[in-house]
Symmetry: C2
Subunit: 357 residues, 2 copies
DNA sequence: ATATTTAACGAAAACGTTTTCGTGTTGACA
DNA sequence: TGTCAACACGAAAACGTTTTCGTTAAATAT
């Protein structure tokens, strides 16, 4: 078991100084061609690679970015990670992942763990509990420490940073409009409680689309699910709620759900109630994941383009990191550019499948 | 924007030496109570936290473990990550993720990126291309550099390291036996090409179960899918293959599929062909993911317990890392324990749902 | 022959810690 | 009064780099 070789060992072995080795390996022309070749040959032989940690310490940057998300067993979030990893890798960065598990405390602990030198910047999506508490001091704290943050999807105005969001509002508008165009008269909505911003925005989009179409919103047609409980493991509850909802409103002929789980569950319930989709009821969900694609009938959805969100987030963050590098060489450290934060909006797209006509 | 405070700054500010500050913060009794209090108060005020990178360099260990998997938008793999992250976090480790994207080259590049000091050990699952090439030198190389590896799920005998696998063979046996018990006479298999070990093992389990039940295997009832192509994006191809398969074998009354995508697709095809599940055909899939749970009818599956695999892998790795620490204090560095590698087998479990009687 | 440039290399600082090993001051004790 | 612990602290090395700034010797210019 050979430990990795270091500059010092090469130097000792070849009877030169550490500086000489370092320079030779970076092809400095301070070093004669002879020694350079000798050193490079030796280094290659022993497969020398500079130690990342030492470089990080010296350069005061780690070339790794942190990701902090609520959950990873989740199609959307893992898609975002894939996008982040893709551009991070291409641009020479590593990716370190932390999971908040929707918990405020774990979010803070993770942030602090990451902010102690492990990473140059953070890409995150806020946990539900944090959104509920509306306590964002930990974000501002790390930003103040000079660690840039990019927020995606679940963002919040109280924190000044770059943001990448999907156009939840217009996505919902598009979806509901399509239902209207397809002839639906009584369009229902299944949504979450309002504190998750994306749910709120999608609800607003639903209302807006109805308004634009001259349809009066009917609060009976809106079902709000308390997603503080872990729905994945309480499918039965979800399904009974939907069953009651459908029974109470037999006139529903169109349904918009703010996520694919609600949509797919609704289709299941509908079928049990003897309804045919899309003939008796058309359904559109938000978030294009595996469920939508493989459900029967397959589900028409509003795609969020998670991978693109990840890529944009990573590019935004790395751009800012590398801009900082240049700033340091400028005369003004506090140049105004630092406070021009960017908000990227990813356009949604409706993917039509079998659940609509 | 305040940069993080360092020992040196505290020392200068309080007019003591760096060593004193360091000792005071670790409650060394070399330092008087007065100074200790003063320093600790100051440190708390400025929210001092030791810089991780500096610690890593000094201690020659990073307290982070690398994960290298083929794909992250994948229920099983993300479940494993969740498990790893969970125990890593509990035991004070960070987690850094690399994706091979099923590519041999990306796997190597990622390994080298990680092995240059960024991590203490690696947990990985081998990419398809690597399995196909059967070239495992990069794994052995990093092991030889003193970086322990734990392989999960897709493992290989040619590399000496700890391994965590699911009992693919017996899982398949159980599944097929259940089909037999449920009265199936003509049990089909949908599987992958043989180079992915897990597919091969599950196929063998299928054959074994048939043998045990006194049923003669019929090669016509085995459909091998070439999963070198990206099936997710070529569902149509998959479905037509299955359609032909079913049409050619109308006597099929039971089906075992080596993953849930194949199983769900098969159910879809079966329904289109007018078959009712589970009445006309019972179906069991391997890998318990979202699809299985939410399909209609919901799918009986063999659960791999991904999270448990992740947790076991992480524990195995960290155990070894921390055992090494102690070994260094022993007289023998090359003690025989180093070569006793552990293979943990996670038992599968059949989760019964609507697709079987 | 002397001054000056150039080539080739080494010493040392710096990044932020921890830890070992001094060192000076105090108080107790003989 | 002289000796010796005990106490409280500082200097410096080490982890592995890169980079600045010497320094030496040879080569060139004057």
């Amino acid at each position: 078991m050979k430990r990795k070789i270091t500059l010092k060992q090469i130097a000792r072995e070849l009877d030169v100084s550490i500086s000489t080795v370092s320079k030779a390996l970076s092809n400095s022309k301070e070093i004669s061609e002879d020694t350079t070749q000798k050193i490079q040959a030796f280094a290659k032989l022993y497969n020398y690679k500079a130690n990342n940690i030492a470089l990080s310490l010296k350069n005061r940057k780690t070339k790794t970015i942190g990701i902090l998300i609520p959950e990873i067993v989740h199609h959307f979030f893992s898609t975002v990670i894939r996008g982040i990893e893709r551009v991070a890798n291409r641009r020479g960065y590593n990716v370190i992942v932390g999971l908040s598990n929707e918990s405020f405390t774990k979010e803070i602990i993770n942030m602090e763990m990451l902010a102690n030198g492990s990473i140059d910047g953070i890409i995150l999506s806020i946990s539900k509990e944090t959104l509920l508490k509306q306590d964002y001091h930990h974000f501002n704290a790390t930003i103040n420490q000079g660690i840039p943050i990019v927020m995606f999807d679940r963002v919040v105005n109280e924190v000044d940073c770059d943001k990448v969001i999907v156009d939840d509002f217009n996505g919902a508008v598009k979806a509901v409009k399509k239902l209207v165009e397809n002839g639906c008269k009584n369009i229902a909505l299944i949504t979450t409680m309002d504190y998750v911003s994306v749910g709120r925005l999608r609800t607003q989009g639903y209302l807006e689309a109805l308004g634009l179409s001259g349809i009066e919103a009917n609060s009976n047609l809106i079902l709000k699910i308390d997603d503080s409980l872990d729905v994945e493991n309480h499918l039965d509850i979800l399904e009974t709620e939907i069953t009651q909802f459908f029974k109470a409103n037999p006139n529903i002929d169109g349904l918009f759900a703010v996520n694919e789980l609600y949509a797919v569950s609704a289709m299941k319930v509908a079928r049990k109630l003897g309804l045919t989709i899309p003939d008796d009821m058309q359904v559109i969900g938000f978030t294009d994941g595996v469920l939508s694609k493989h459900a029967t009938p397959s589900l028409t959805t509003v795609s969020q383009h998670g991978q693109k969100m990840g890529e944009q987030s990573a590019n935004l963050l790395i751009d800012r990191l590398e801009a900082e590098d240049n700033d340091n060489e400028q005369y003004f450290t506090n140049n105004p550019k630092d406070h021009d934060f960017i908000k990227v909006v990813i356009e949604t797209e409706i993917i039509e499948r079998e659940s609509t006509k």
